[in-house]
C-alpha cells in the first residue's frame, strides 16, 4: 500500500511549541499537573481538572491500546482508520491507525506511536505494536 496521503502542518503557538519541538525528535509529549497529578492531552497550560497552572511536560512511552476506531471506507486518496488510543500514562488520544491492515484492527489491541512528516512539525500516529 503506497502512502500518498499528505497531512496539514500544525500551526504552532506559544502554548504548544514544546510539543512540536519534541515531535521533531519523534517524541510524544503529554502534560501532567503537579497539583492534582492527572495527565491530559492535548496539552494545556492550565490543568482542565483543577485549574492549577503548575502543569509540566512529560514524555509518553508512546504505547497504549485502541479504545475505539472506525474505518472511513470512501475517502480520498483511500480509506483511513480514525480512533482513540488510551496511552499507558492514562490520557486517550485521537489519532489515525497507519501502516497496517485496517480490517484486522481490534479494540484493546496494543499500539505504538509513529510520526509522519508534514511541511511543518511531524504529527503522531499509531500502528500495531
Amino acid at each position: 500500500m503506497t502512502e500518498t496521503k499528505t497531512y496539514p502542518a500544525p500551526k504552532e503557538n506559544p502554548e504548544t511549541t514544546p510539543f512540536w519541538e519534541a515531535a521533531r525528535d519523534h517524541k510524544l509529549l503529554i502534560k501532567r499537573c503537579n497539583s492534582c497529578g492527572e495527565a491530559h492531552y492535548f496539552p494545556r497550560s492550565i490543568c482542565p481538572f483543577c485549574f492549577s497552572d503548575d502543569t509540566v511536560w512529560e514524555e509518553s512511552a508512546g504505547t497504549g491500546e485502541i479504545y475505539t476506531f472506525s474505518i472511513m471506507r470512501k475517502a480520498k486518496p483511500g480509506p483511513y482508520a480514525v480512533g482513540y488510543v488510551t496511552l499507558a500514562e492514562g490520557p486517550s488520544v485521537l489519532t489515525n491507525f497507519v501502516d497496517c491492515d485496517f480490517d484486522a484492527l481490534r479494540i484493546g489491541q496494543p499500539v505504538k506511536v509513529v510520526f509522519k512528516e508534514t511541511e511543518g512539525a511531524p504529527i503522531p500516529f499509531f500502528t500495531p505494536a
Binding site: 492535548f42 481538572f49 475505539t68 472506525s70 474505518i71 492514562g90 486517550s92 479494540i107
Partner: protein, 383 residues
C-alpha cells in the same frame, strides 16, 4: 426559579422543500419565519425576540435587519443541531424574566444544493485536524465502542431506521418514503464501520421555525396550548482524554435536568422526538435519557418498539432525520415541530399518538465522539 409553564410554542412551520437551488438561504429563513407566525396567528411586528444559530446568514443582526424585525432580545447560541432546542429553553427564560414576549426561532439552509459554511476552530485543531474525524466516523467510533462494551448489534441499530421508515411512508414531504427492512439496512454499503448508509440521516435543503410566546399571548391565539415544562442542556468532550467514555452523551446530564424541572419521569412520556443524525445517536440518547438502562438500548429499540401504534415509545413520527428531513444538517428544529404536531393532535392520523399530552424533544449538536452539546425539552399540552 423555573421556566415551567412560563412559555408556549404558539407557532410551528416546517418548510416543505427538500431541495431548493432556486432560493437563497436568507429567503428560506424568511419563509419559515412567515410560516410559523401565520401558524400562530401573529404578525412580524409582534416579534420582540429573535433566536438563530450559525446557519443564519450574517448572524442575528443581519437576519433581524433582513426580516425587518424590531427586537428587544436576541440569542445566537450555537451548538450545532441542538441549537434550536437550546433556543427554546432560552426563549422561555427570556419570556419568564420579561425580556421578550414573542420569540421567533429560525433554521434554514441548503446543504443538498451544496451551500454549507465552514466550522469554527478550537485549540484542539492542531492536534486533531490531520486525522480526518468527520461526522460519520465520530459517531461510528461511539457505535464501535458501544458494541464492544454492551454487545449492541447492527441488527438492533437497523431497527431504528426501520421504525423511522414506517413513519415516513405517511409523510408526502419526506425525502425517503419507502418502508425498509432490517435486511435492507444491513445490505446497504458500509460508510464508516460499523455504520452503513441506512444508519445515516438524509441530506436536505430546507428549514423550520417556531414562535414561542408568553402564556397571556398564547391564550389569546386560536391554537392548542403547548407549554415547555422542563429544559436542560449540557456539553461533553474528551476533556483532556481523561477516563474517556464514548458510550454516553451529554444527554445523560441534560435529560435529568429537564425531567426534574418538569416533575415527570421517562415512563410518563407518550411521544419522543429524538435527534437521529445516525441510528447510534438515537440508541445512546434513549439510554442517557433513562428510557432504558445503559447498554440496553439495543434491546429497547428492537422489534418495532419505536413505531407508533406498535411499540411502547413512538419516536420521530415525521420520519425524522433518517427519512424525512435534516435541513442544514441540523435536526433540532424539526424535532420540536413534530412534537408540537403530536401534542396538538395534528400529526398524520396513521402515526398520531392517542391522547398525546406529554412529549420529549432531545437533540445533540457537534460530533458525538469528539465535542458535542445536548439539549432536552419536555412539552405538555395544557388545553
Amino acid at each position: 426559579m423555573t421556566i415551567k409553564g412560563k412559555a408556549y410554542i404558539a407557532g410551528i412551520y416546517e418548510h416543505p422543500t427538500r431541495y431548493a437551488p432556486d432560493k437563497s438561504t436568507a429567503q428560506l429563513h424568511a419563509e419559515v419565519a412567515k410560516g410559523a407566525l401565520e401558524d400562530a396567528g401573529l404578525r412580524s411586528e409582534d416579534v420582540d425576540g429573535y433566536f438563530c444559530g450559525r446557519d443564519a446568514p450574517g448572524g442575528a443582526w443581519a437576519m433581524v435587519d433582513y426580516l425587518g424585525l424590531k427586537v428587544r432580545h436576541v440569542d445566537s447560541t450555537e451548538s450545532g443541531g441542538c441549537s434550536y432546542i437550546m433556543h427554546l429553553g432560552h426563549a422561555a427564560e427570556a419570556i419568564a424574566s420579561g425580556k421578550c414576549s414573542v420569540a421567533l426561532v429560525t433554521l434554514a439552509g441548503k446543504p443538498r444544493t451544496g451551500d454549507i459554511g465552514t466550522k469554527a476552530v478550537g485549540a484542539e485543531e492542531d492536534f486533531e485536524a490531520a486525522y480526518g474525524a468527520t461526522t460519520h466516523n465520530a459517531y461510528a467510533m461511539c457505535a464501535m465502542r458501544h458494541m464492544h462494551d454492551f454487545g449492541t448489534t447492527p441488527e438492533q441499530l437497523a431497527w431504528i431506521k426501520v421504525a423511522a421508515s414506517h413513519h415516513a411512508q405517511y409523510n408526502p414531504n419526506a425525502r425517503l418514503q419507502d418502508v425498509v427492512t432490517v435486511e435492507e439496512v444491513l445490505a446497504s454499503p458500509m460508510i464508516s464501520d460499523p455504520l452503513r448508509r441506512m444508519d445515516c440521516c438524509v441530506v436536505t435543503d430546507g428549514g423550520g421555525a417556531i414562535v414561542v410566546t408568553s402564556k397571556e399571548i398564547a391564550q389569546s391565539l386560536n391554537r392548542p396550548l403547548v407549554t415547555l415544562t422542563g429544559h436542560g442542556e449540557a456539553m461533553k468532550g474528551p476533556r483532556g482524554g481523561n477516563r474517556l467514555d464514548l458510550t454516553y452523551s451529554a444527554g445523560a446530564w441534560s435529560g435529568p435536568r429537564a425531567f426534574q424541572e418538569a416533575g415527570v419521569v421517562p415512563q410518563d412520556i407518550k411521544y419522543a422526538s429524538i435527534y437521529d443524525s445516525f441510528t447510534i445517536t438515537v440508541l445512546m440518547q434513549l439510554e442517557d435519557l433513562g428510557f432504558c438502562e445503559k447498554g440496553q438500548g439495543g434491546k429497547f429499540v428492537s422489534d418495532g418498539n419505536l413505531i407508533s401504534g406498535v411499540g411502547k415509545l413512538p419516536f420521530n413520527t415525521d420520519g425524522g432525520g433518517l427519512c424525512n428531513n435534516h435541513p442544514v444538517n441540523r435536526g433540532g428544529m424539526t424535532k420540536i415541530i413534530e412534537a408540537v404536531r403530536q401534542l396538538r393532535g395534528e400529526a398524520h392520523p396513521k402515526v398520531q399518538v392517542p391522547d398525546c399530552d406529554l412529549a420529549l424533544v432531545h437533540g445533540t449538536g457537534g460530533l458525538l465522539g469528539l465535542r458535542h452539546g445536548a439539549s432536552t425539552a419536555i412539552l405538555e399540552r395544557t388545553q
